[in-house]
């Protein structure tokens, strides 16, 4: 088993190194440097922003709004790996399943792949900086917020792996990857239209937007980012039983994602 894990880790490293030393690799190397720089600057900037945001909300007793920081992390963690599938080397499960791997090892390998993807690395960094922001504003909440963010991170990881396992065969098709790369590109350029659109329609439809926001607020409360924020807010107000109950619900979400992921991988394995 150790030999198999070592072989996969070595293979991944060789894939990366080889990709840098081909003719095509020279172009890839330059593009990778730009991508890594872009993500490093963007990721660290976002981490600083999220940390500062968490500190501000906790200092001004607006703990419930922590959800507004957790939702972008959640959406990035889930959507980025799928949208970026055109640019990344994906695991084809049938390449591994030819070999004598136990189900437990196969599951562990699939999880390890998830731990190493950029969304998980950046997502974890952002959650850490949110914990830091909370702890600076309210040191007594360090342990609880770290615990809640830890469970939230594991839930994100399991959900991301689960979605990927379900979409894997579909994403393996070149056409699908091309469609996702176009959507990704359109999403990137669509941000610049947000300002003009808000200027034009913002005033007129403020009441409608407020109505929709209210409905979304109700829905988000029962989803993982909302529940994580709720748990921290309750602990901050010393309502310990509710804070624990919220953490339990978050754990249940994690357990549900685990069961669904396991059932999907079990089906692939058989």
């Amino acid at each position: 088993m150790t030999g198999q894990f070592a072989a996969i880790a070595k293979m991944r490293a060789q894939l990366f190194v080889n990709s840098l030393f081909t003719v095509r690799g020279n172009v890839e190397l330059i593009s990778r440097i730009f991508v890594i720089l872009f993500f490093a600057i963007g990721g660290l900037g976002a981490a600083a922003g999220l940390g500062a945001g968490a500190w501000y909300l906790m200092s001004h007793h607006q703990e419930f709004w922590l959800a507004a920081l957790l939702w972008p992390v959640f959406l990035f963690w889930q959507l980025f790996p799928i949208l970026a599938t055109a640019f990344t080397e994906n695991l084809d499960s049938s390449n591994l399943l030819r070999f004598p791997l136990s189900f437990r090892d196969y599951f562990a390998i699939r999880m390890a792949y998830g731990l190493l993807d950029p969304a998980s690395v950046l997502g974890s960094l952002w959650l850490l900086s949110i914990v830091a922001g909370i702890a600076i504003a309210s040191p007594a909440l360090l342990v609880w917020s770290a615990l809640v963010m830890g469970v939230f991170a594991v839930s994100n990881l399991l959900l991301g792996r689960m979605l990927f396992a379900w979409l894997e065969r579909w994403l393996a098709q070149r056409r699908t990857r091309e469609i996702f790369s176009v959507i990704f590109f359109l999403l990137l350029i669509s941000f610049q239209f947000a300002g003009p659109l808000l200027n034009r329609y913002g005033e007129r439809s403020r009441r409608e937007v407020a109505g929709v926001t209210l409905q979304l607020t109700v829905v988000q409360r029962v989803l993982p980012p909302g529940i994580a924020a709720w748990s921290i807010a309750e602990m901050s107000a010393s309502r310990i039983p509710t804070a624990i109950a919220a953490l339990m619900i978050l754990l249940l979400y994690g357990a549900l994602f685990f069961v669904l992921l396991r059932s999907r991988l079990r089906k692939q394995y058989q």
Binding site: I8, R98, P100
Partner: protein, 264 residues
């Protein structure tokens, strides 16, 4: 009957409403060179994927070397080698890196994997361009590498899905030499191929699948005798080729060339 290397009972696979393989009972004796034939879409690849543990059957059972595949997938996979139709190679590795990876995944220690990698690359005539990535290999080179990866652990059964498709005569000769060597050492080989001349030359026994059902199985001589017995009025002075036997069993008809008279 001899000891069985492969045995299926009632093997069935459905994809929604489509039944790709239906009620296949297939015994393959140990040490046989076995050809699994069928027209396109007959269910050959689906059957191989089930026999190698890559696809679960909808119904039925599979025994490999006396082991229930569903109950002992790891033990079975240790004893078999597979060359799938798409070859499933990692294009951005070199041949040596890929063989080493396959050897380690099959449980070989580092030194043994490295030693066998060198020997296999040499045998397959792939050793002279060590830095070349698999993606830059020709189709024939990729087939040879896929076969090398499938045998690096010394499997008792080898499953090959279209191993000779798109392979030139030189590469084909190397592949055949490797397979004959395995047979002489007691391994069982189960292959699908559209190249019936090669199957006729290599295989002692064949099975024919058509529209998901097994329509014939046995030694080539038995199948020939069966076809001749079923058509007593035919001209049997010359021995029927496997292609003629195959067409006779699956009912293939040649298109009317009169319609293409403009071809000259």
């Amino acid at each position: 009957m001899d000891r069985l290397a492969i045995s299926t009972r009632g093997l069935t696979r459905r994809f929604g409403k489509l039944t790709a393989v239906q009620d296949v009972n297939l015994p393959v004796a140990a040490g046989q060179f076995f050809g699994f034939l069928g027209p396109n879409g007959a269910g050959k690849s689906t059957t191989i994927r089930m026999l190698t543990g890559l696809l679960a059957p909808t119904a039925g059972s599979i025994e490999i070397l006396g082991l229930d595949l569903m109950a002992n997938p790891v033990e079975v996979k240790r004893q078999i080698g597979v060359v799938p139709e798409g070859m499933a190679l990692s294009g951005r590795l070199t041949g040596a890196e890929y063989l080493n990876f396959a050897g380690r995944m099959y449980g070989l220690d580092r030194d043994t994997a490295a030693k066998r990698t060198a020997e296999l690359l040499d045998f397959m005539d792939l050793a002279n361009q060590p830095k070349k990535l698999i993606t830059d290999y020709s189709h024939g080179m990729q087939k040879k590498l896929a076969l090398a990866a499938a045998v690096i652990h010394g499997p008792k059964i080898l499953f090959l899905d279209e191993p000779f498709e798109g392979v030139d005569a030189v590469a084909s000769g190397t592949l055949k030499a490797m397979l004959q060597r395995m047979i002489s050492r007691g391994a069982t080989i189960f292959l699908t191929s559209h190249v019936l001349e090669i199957v006729e030359r290599l295989c002692s026994h064949v099975a024919i699948i058509h529209e998901g059902r097994l329509v014939a199985q046995g030694s080539i001589a038995d199948l020939r005798a069966g076809v001749e017995a079923g058509n007593p009025e035919g001209n049997h002075k010359e021995k029927l080729t496997l292609e003629q036997i195959f067409l006779s069993i699956v009912g293939g008809e040649r298109p009317d060339l009169e319609e293409l008279s403009w071809l000259g």
